[in-house]
């Protein structure tokens, strides 16, 4: 119940992107690419004091049983927004005025927890791109089924859970950078579940660090 699904992480998998990563949580698989900091066009969108972070989350049409219609949906627009707000606290955007950092996330296979898989991958891709970061961002979703707290909701669990709480967390700063909830649950349970999610994030954080160190030691950088 309080266990994560099998996790797989790969860093630096796309040669065109400045940074990239793939994360799978069980059957859920997300890939992220980072470009930048690079010049932002059109120029009137530039911010003279800081970089802007742009995130785009999409689900591949073949990622679910029923085909996902390509193009933005209301759901994907919202997830893109909360993903940006989950990653932004980890960056030093003020160090790159007038530029943009672009994060593209594609969910290749969806089996619950796609936004959290996307955030884990995006965080790795940002580090892989060499963008200075205050911390990595780790993310997981938790819920409650039949009276039990459940870590990392998977597949059908998402349909029977009393609530779905996706959380992203920066362990060094102890800050929650993504927090959403839908369901119907007493306040006490909600607090406990967020704490459970933080534990899950800490485990994922170690795996993210290992994935990065693995890649860097191969390249002789560590």
């Amino acid at each position: 119940m309080d266990e994560l699904r099998p996790v797989e992480m790969q860093v630096g998998i796309l040669s065109n992107a400045d940074g990239s990563a793939m994360v799978s949580l069980g059957k859920t698989k997300a890939i992220a690419a980072v470009y930048g900091p690079r010049e932002l066009h059109p120029k009137h969108r530039q911010n003279n004091e800081r970089a802007i972070l742009q995130c785009n989350y999409v689900m591949a049409p073949f990622s679910t049983n029923e085909r996902v219609r390509p193009g933005p949906s209301r759901r994907s627009v919202e997830i893109s927004k909360v993903t940006r707000e989950a990653l932004e606290p980890a960056l030093f955007l003020e160090d790159f005025p007038r530029t943009t950092i672009d994060v593209y996330i594609i969910v290749l296979q969806a089996h619950s927890g796609t936004r959290t898989a996307g955030i884990n991958a995006a965080s790795l891709a940002l580090a892989d791109a060499g963008v200075q970061m205050k911390d990595l961002v780790s993310a997981v979703a938790v819920g409650k089924i039949n009276g039990n707290y459940v870590m990392d909701l998977a597949g059908k669990e998402e349909e029977v859970t009393q609530c779905d709480i996706p959380v992203a967390y920066m362990p060094r700063y102890k800050k929650l950078t993504l927090l959403q909830m839908d369901g119907d649950l007493p306040d006490k349970d909600v607090k406990n579940l967020i704490k459970l999610a933080v534990k899950g994030c800490e485990t994922l954080y170690d795996k993210q660090r290992k994935a990065l160190l693995g890649k860097w030691s191969k390249e002789g950088k560590v």
């Binding site: 209301r74 759901r75 627009v77 919202e78 893109s80 927004k81 909360v82 707000e85 932004e88 606290p89 609530c163 709480i165 967390y169 920066m170 700063y173 102890k174 800050k175 929650l176 950078t177 993504l178 927090l179 959403q180 909830m181 839908d182 369901g183 119907d184 649950l185 007493p186 306040d187 909600v190 607090k191 967020i194 704490k195 933080v198």
Partner: protein, 254 residues
Amino acid sequence: MKFQAQYINNLISKGSRIDGRKIDEHRKLTIEKDVIEHAEGSAKVMLGETEVIAGVKMDVGEPFPDTPNEGVLIVNAELSPLASPEFELGPPREEAIELARIVDRGIRESNCIDREKLCIKKGEKVWMLFVDIQPLNHDGNLIDASGIATIVALLNTKMPEYDGEKVNYEKKKGKLPVKEKPVPVTLAQINDKLVVDPGIDEEDVMNSRITIVTKDDRNICAIQKGGKSGFLMERVEEAIDIAVKKGKEIRKML
């Protein structure tokens, strides 16, 4: 702008606010129901100078395949430039979409509407419930104003008659079955302190915000964090406690 930010920050670190409110005090809340005759339900909510109208329209349509015996709920928000110099014409941007989706989740997850009672013929015909949120003046905290306007509009929605072929909007056959009163409470985090119901000046300088939708029984049915910084766990717990308390106070006014 920077002076304003400093000023607000200083005030909040001393426990006071730019408009003289307490840290956990809402602006004056005014609720007016049945403001639009042609809507099946409507409400106008004022939170200080923030003003929002929510209207409910109903129609008969096909259910979603995965919920063949449930009515359909669709929540939409239009951020017209009439309401703020920040808003622009055109298709909804992420701000409008997020607003509508937070209100939607509060209503949907609280199960405040008995959607099975909106089924006319399983798999074929159900009532569709359209909630449209129209801010008229944005002076901060559109989420709470919209959420309150929506639940009040739903509580006062009268269902039109349906004869099997056509909806007769002139005749009403009774109230929409609404069982719960979900109420959102939004808090802004400024300088690591929480303030309830941020006004526009506070929204401009806040680091982040958190919205918590509560029900009559202390249960929480939706949470949304927004903004460019994070929350410590203690702050989240504090926000939940305040939202439970404040939600109860607001619910009494509905």
